[in-house]
């Protein structure tokens, strides 16, 4: 149906059109870099970035916990139990997943994402209360988590359960999106899915009235681990 003919005729029509002067790509990138070079948080310390991150995420109804590496598992375990979470999707093979699993009380069951989505879609959609993810990094200026889903923590962990719990290290917080993209070399190797999360799911589609929990998680809890403070201590 999509014949080579269509492809050739579209490209042919575009090529036949009078050529516009082609601006230099390098010059364009220099301008993009320059615009971001003086971003407000470019010279901020990790804890300053964590502060901004906390403020902005809180403003879009995200619950932010700032703790150190030793205390967060117990705090989060308590919080999950109090919220009545019974089944938590979690990757035990990561240090963070294991630490949280150990801290959880008996009545909070953890389950790994151990089989392909299509094999247990029904359970995932109706029988899981929360999903735990470890963010690759964060973006302070917009209060954003950078998630790079993988085999242990696939995309749906942060998407299908009604509560998403994410952990991000303060030392991984970038000033802005441009800084994150450059520092992590996104162009050199994009994962299948890279998702930037800036709050719980929401919509204003009914008479411009903001409502949370449209299709993704209605609640987002973020643990910012202040690892930079530890390093200084």
């Amino acid at each position: 149906m999509s014949s080579m003919g269509t492809r050739e005729s579209i490209l042919g029509a575009l090529r036949a059109a009078a050529p516009a002067p082609t601006p230099d790509s390098r010059a364009l990138e220099a301008r993009i870099n320059q615009l971001h070079a003086h971003g407000a948080l470019r010279n901020a310390s990790p804890s300053q970035r964590a502060e901004v991150m906390e403020r902005i995420m809180t403003s879009v109804r995200t619950e932010v916990l700032r703790c150190d590496a030793a205390t967060w598992p117990a705090l989060m375990a308590d919080k999950l139990a109090q919220a009545g979470v019974q089944r938590l999707l979690l990757d035990h093979t990561t240090a963070e997943g294991a630490a949280l699993a150990v801290a959880l009380p008996q009545n909070v069951q953890t389950l790994p994402f151990s089989q392909p989505l299509e094999a247990w879609k029904g359970i995932l959609f109706s029988g899981v209360d929360a999903g735990f993810t470890l963010a690759r990094s964060g973006i302070a200026a917009t209060g954003t988590l950078v998630l790079a889903p993988n085999a242990g923590t696939p995309r749906t962990v942060s998407l299908v359960p009604p509560l998403h719990v994410a952990l991000v290290y303060a030392s991984t917080l970038h000033a802005d999106l441009h800084a994150a993209m450059h520092a992590e070399g996104w162009s050199a190797g994009m994962p299948t899915n890279l998702v930037l999360v800036s709050g719980p799911s929401k919509t204003s589609d009914i008479q411009q009235t903001l409502a949370y929990g449209a299709h993704g998680p209605a609640a987002l809890w973020v643990v910012i681990v202040d690892d930079s403070l530890e390093a200084q201590a």
Partner: protein, 481 residues
């Protein structure tokens, strides 16, 4: 669910629908409220006027760079997608796009498609095409879902159900969603919509989405949303089809950074939306979710006509933020449906003639006071007022006249009589003797001015020459003509 065809209207009946819309007090009130809200949200995101202008310069430069290299970028994008295992299709028009998507559905034995928001799919009337062939398309963006239940079309490209009140939506949900009592509480309504659509994501054979930006260098699709329905549609079903206009591709992933910022700030007044969903190919070996089969459909549908003309090419810079319609005095008064086109408002007026031809859309380009608000807020500096004037010129051009890149429907508003009047006028104006004679005759014969003067007298009093010309009056005061 929605096997009946959508309600089709012809853009050519624009004038009648405008009159109806102007009488609709409810619509006028909700439009006014929505426009005030969206304008305030946008301006709160741009407190620093200098930063805004620098960012607009950059946005324009990125889009112009992409368009200047478009054929090469499309080829590069295609090669990178194919290397990732994505099947790439090219569609010259709506029928081809629909046939490609239907072909994929048939091969997979699919009965249902769950859709993330896609204006391109509205443009090709995909839902209607598939429904006629026994495949149901379910819109999952809350606004799109609402207009689909109401058997309407979106009235705004970012906020599809902008024209509807919560009372209307409450009644709609009560009627269509079993076990949903009438309510005007928005949280309750959204929860009802969430429940109704949840199973659809899990059960759908195919997920279809639009694309906000595409990067040629990495083969990445960049999707922008708040609800999570776009993520669900592109992650849960085993097949993902992305439908995108050929103009969406840019050279490099990092070029999208300023565009994404301009888009969310201009559209909904957000520094960033809840989700930026960057998709680079189908599920890879060892991964446990995401579609195992992925298709990208590249849609022309008249875009190459706009591309062919140096001036009109700027139309394709658009990033579909909707700021032009949010600031348009015409859109605010008539609403999105009056236009009868997929894309309403100022951007609709300049893109629709390429998609549908000037025969259908010649009246749309005249529905502007050329106040310039659209051009002033456009994040990528599309000179919309200039393009409107240009399209008016093309609509009034003699159909027989040969031009370099003729537009479909050239001369749709052409009238021999009007051409003669203008010829006479320009001739008279260029010759002082003739002009003086004309002036003398017009002031003396003013009683014979016709009371009906075509379009002019439809809404205004007839034009009657003054008793004395300005030149006469000046001469009486002792000043030279």
């Amino acid at each position: 669910m929605n096997a009946r065809p959508m309600h089709f209207v012809s853009p050519a009946d624009f004038r009648e629908r405008v009159n109806e819309a102007l009488q609709d007090q409810g619509l006028r009130a909700s439009m006014r409220g929505a426009m005030d809200f969206l304008q305030a949200k946008r301006s709160s995101q741009f407190p620093d006027a200098d930063e805004l202008e620098r960012l607009r310069d950059l946005g324009e430069a990125v889009r112009q760079h992409a368009l200047a290299n478009l054929p090469d970028l499309l080829v590069q994008f295609e090669a990178n997608l194919q290397a990732l295992g994505v099947q790439v299709h090219w569609a010259a028009n709506a029928d081809e796009a629909n046939a490609i998507i239907h072909g994929i559905a048939q091969r997979r034995g699919a009965r249902s498609i769950v859709k993330g928001k896609s204006m391109a799919s509205e443009e090709v009337e995909l839902n209607h095409y598939m429904a006629e062939r026994g495949i149901s398309c379910i819109e999952s963006d809350m606004g799109e879902y609402i207009v689909q239940l109401a058997e309407e079309k979106p009235s705004h490209i970012v906020m599809p159900a902008l024209h509807k009140t919560r009372a209307e939506i409450g009644a709609l949900f009560e009627r269509h969603l079993p076990g949903t009592p009438y309510t005007e509480d928005v949280d309750t309504l959204i929860l009802a919509g969430r429940r109704a659509l949840r199973r659809k994501f899990a059960d759908a054979d195919i997920g279809l989405s639009g694309v906000n930006f595409a990067a040629a260098d990495t083969g990445t699709l960049w999707l922008v949303e708040n609800e999570g329905n776009g993520r669900l549609s592109t992650t849960v079903p085993d097949v993902h089809i992305a439908l995108m206009g050929i103009e969406k591709v840019v050279a490099r992933l990092e070029h999208i950074v300023p565009l994404a910022s301009l888009l969310t700030r201009s559209a909904t007044g957000q520094a960033i939306t809840t989700y930026f969903n960057l998709i680079t190919g189908p599920r890879r070996v060892g991964e446990l979710d995401g579609p195992r089969e992925m298709h990208v459909v590249l849609l022309d549908n008249g875009r190459s006509q706009a591309f062919a003309d140096q001036q009109l090419r700027a139309t394709l810079q658009c990033i579909r933020c909707g700021a032009c319609m949010n600031h348009c005095p015409v859109y605010e008064r008539v609403g999105g449906h009056a236009y009868g086109t997929t894309y309403p408002g100022p951007i609709g007026k300049i893109i629709s003639p390429h998609l549908l031809g000037l025969e259908e859309t010649a009246d749309l380009v005249t529905a502007s006071s050329l106040c310039g608000a659209c051009g002033e807020v456009c994040p990528v500096r599309i000179p919309i007022p200039e393009l409107l004037v240009r399209l008016r010129t093309e609509a009034n051009r003699d159909p027989a006249q040969q031009v370099d890149s003729p537009l479909r429907g050239q001369g749709a508003n052409f009238s021999r009589g009007e051409q003669l009047v203008w010829r006479f006028w320009s001739g008279a104006f260029a010759r002082p003797t003739v002009y003086r004679w004309f002036r003398w005759a017009a002031t003396r014969l003013r009683a014979f001015a016709p009371s009906s003067q075509l379009g002019w007298t439809r809404h205004r009093a007839p034009l009657v020459p003054a008793k004395r010309s300005l030149a006469d009056l000046m001469r009486e005061r002792g000043q030279a003509e």
